[in-house]
């Protein structure tokens, strides 16, 4: 169920990025897509009634294996969030420059490149 919601979120982001006219909305669409994937990754490691994957001397390794959620996707998500931040910052910087040059955020009015 939650997986399907992730997928719906992804599709909303994709739709937004591909059909919107405003450059800022396109960037928001890209962000939504990224968050959908970022949500999906930890869900892969989720297990019902799982515990946090923190191991200390007192924990029994076998019990840890049986109950803890998978920590690897969580580590991946941290990396992917940082990458997403970089892309968003880059995109917004380009949007600001575009606004300085064209005086509009409307992508249909930026049509110097055709053919």
């Amino acid at each position: 169920m939650v997986y399907a919601l992730c997928f719906v979120l992804f599709m909303i982001g994709l739709y937004c990025a591909l059909t919107k006219k405003n450059v800022i909305k396109i960037v928001i669409g890209l962000g939504i897509m990224e968050y959908a994937v970022n949500l999906f990754l930890p869900l892969l490691g989720y297990r019902k009634n799982g515990t946090a994957p923190i191991m200390d001397r007192a924990t029994d390794p076998l019990e840890f294996l049986a109950t803890a959620v998978d920590p690897l996707p969580q580590a991946l998500v941290l990396t992917s969030i940082v990458i997403g931040l970089g892309v968003t910052a880059m995109a917004i910087a380009i949007c600001i420059r575009l606004y300085e040059k064209y005086g509009t955020y409307d992508i249909t009015e930026m049509r110097r490149l055709r053919g």
Binding site: L30, T79, I94, C95, L113
Partner: protein, 513 residues
């Protein structure tokens, strides 16, 4: 040289990328020389690493827990191609980038892009591949927008939107594969997938990989960003983007994942062949009508990438249906050889277009004419590259196209429809030739117009970069001579032909550590 030197390919450009803006903020000459030292060092290391094969385990954590970097024949060839083209581009940048400010930032982004590409080439871990893919992509978005003019910003935004969609799809594919196998290490994934049933989710993941890497490689129908982004960038960056970026991030990553991790099946190979044929024909017919020199070259990049994918796809198809192995090897040899050749002649063409643009201030072919007398070096190198891309013997483009066509004919004995592929390849070659004859005719022949009386040849350093690449164009046919072929091309073909044997080879190397 042992495998322990492998991290240098990533560490060297990464270190210089951050060193240059620190020490060379005011002194442009220092930035120039440091960048050239870095790329020359990469060429040297890529050559020294040629006979080396093996696995480098980062931090001593053995896979599947840690991240491993793998070097095989295919990786060696790609490292060498990337290093040579980036050296020519930095050499060319020294004088060309004088009209832009902030050259230290330019070199910093340039070397970060090289870092990303080298990382994608040597990594043996799927998530690590995604990270390097994003390093190279983000720096290339910034480089396309480097001039901060209207065209450049618009092109960069378009590229950024499509590029991020591609990256996100790749990440989603990685997530599905991780969910199905529980590994991120490519060798372990490959073994896990071999035993896992082909569930619909897994098929979806493969589709995401093809679309995601296809966007990066600008294969038709995922190509609309390329004809805007490649011409808008400064010429040495166009040369890097068209010459190596679409190959390292797109074709190399796609073929590596499809052949060595997933294992090529008949349907996947047919998808590759179809995409290849589509890119070849659509790209070349869009190119013929162009009058903007760089835009024309960009469309030809799409078309030439089609050749590469077609060659590798044909090899994969023959392997998947159990055809003759030597024909499959020949088709893949053609594809991989064309990949290396295209890197050289397309970057040379883009650098030539940069020289012409710098001298005349225009990219429109109709506004040029008669430049041949004033710019003899550019004319000579541009002619060599044009004839090479059009497949005129004895230049390098001829040999790789010939091999692909021969392979298609040989395969048509078993699979009659391959004859159509050979025919399409020949037709596309002719259209390419016509298109480049137009370029040579309008740019270099005819009468020099009034506005262009003051045109001079480009500075010596730029000409050196052009001549280096031109020498490669003429000489690369020698790679087919048996002893040389054994060291450079054959190992690359074997790495792809080995298919799922990749996992076994990697695991054996890890066990030997």
């Amino acid at each position: 040289m042992s495998i322990l030197a492998l991290p240098v390919m990533v560490a060297l450009p990464l270190g210089f990328a951050f060193l240059i803006p620190i020490v060379a903020r005011r002194a442009k000459a220092v930035a120039d020389s440091l960048a050239n030292i870095a790329t020359l060092g990469l060429v040297a290391f890529a050559v020294l690493l040629l006979p080396v094969r093996g696995v480098y385990v980062i931090g001593g954590w053995k896979p599947p827990i840690g991240i491993s970097w793998v070097l095989d024949g295919y990786g060696n060839l790609m490292l060498l191609v990337v290093a040579v083209v980036s050296f020519a581009s930095t050499l060319y940048s020294v004088r060309y980038m004088e009209r832009y400010t902030a050259s230290h930032r330019y070199y910093s982004l340039f070397l970060l892009m090289v870092t990303g590409m080298n990382g994608v080439i040597i990594t043996g871990d799927l998530f690590n591949l995604f990270v390097f893919l994003e390093i190279a992509s983000i720096s290339s978005y910034a480089l396309v927008a480097f001039g901060c003019e209207q065209d450049e910003l618009e092109a960069s935004f378009k590229y950024l939107v499509l590029g991020s969609i591609g990256s996100t799809l790749v990440l989603l594919g990685i997530a599905f594969v991780y969910g199905a196998t529980g590994y991120l290490n490519m060798a372990s994934i490959s073994q896990g997938l071999a035993s896992a049933p082909r569930s619909p989710l897994l098929i979806l993941a493969f589709v995401f990989f093809i679309v995601g890497f296809g966007i990066k490689a600008a294969l038709v129908p995922f190509h609309p960003w390329l004809p805007d982004a490649h011409p808008s960038a400064p010429a040495p960056i166009s040369a890097m983007l068209s010459g190596v970026l679409i190959k390292a991030l797109g074709v190399y990553a796609l073929t590596r994942v499809l052949f060595n991790v997933i294992g090529v099946s008949e349907s996947l190979a047919i998808v590759l062949i179809a995409v290849g044929v589509l890119s070849m024909t659509v790209g070349v017919f869009l190119a013929v009508g162009q009058w903007d020199f760089k835009r024309l070259l960009a469309y030809h990049s799409i078309s030439q990438m089609g050749y590469v994918i077609l060659g590798i796809g044909m090899g994969g198809y023959i392997l998947a249906v159990g055809g003759r192995v030597e024909v499959a090897a020949l088709a893949m040899l053609g594809g991989i050889f064309h990949l290396a050749n295209h890197a050289v002649f397309k970057s040379l063409l883009f650098l030539c277009s940069g020289s012409i643009e710098m001298a005349t201030g225009t990219r429109q072919l109709k506004e040029m004419g008669g430049l041949g007398e004033r710019m003899p070096v550019t004319r000579a190198t541009c002619t060599i590259a044009s004839l090479s891309i059009a497949g005129v013997p004895p230049l390098n483009g001829f040999w790789s196209k010939l091999i692909i066509i021969i392979a298609a004919f040989q395969a048509s004995v078993d699979h009659p429809w391959f004859i159509a592929l050979a025919a399409i390849t020949i037709i596309v070659s002719f259209v390419t030739l016509i298109s480049f004859l137009k370029v040579l005719r309008y740019a270099f022949l005819g009468a020099l117009s009034q506005a262009l009386q003051q045109v001079k040849e480009s500075p010596a350093l730029m000409c050196v970069a052009l001549v280096i690449l031109a020498v490669f164009c003429v000489g690369m046919g020698l790679l087919l001579v048996p002893p040389v072929r054994e060291t450079v091309l054959e190992p690359a073909v074997r790495a792809l032909m080995g298919g799922l044997g990749y996992a076994g080879a990697v695991n054996a190397a890890v066990a030997g550590l």
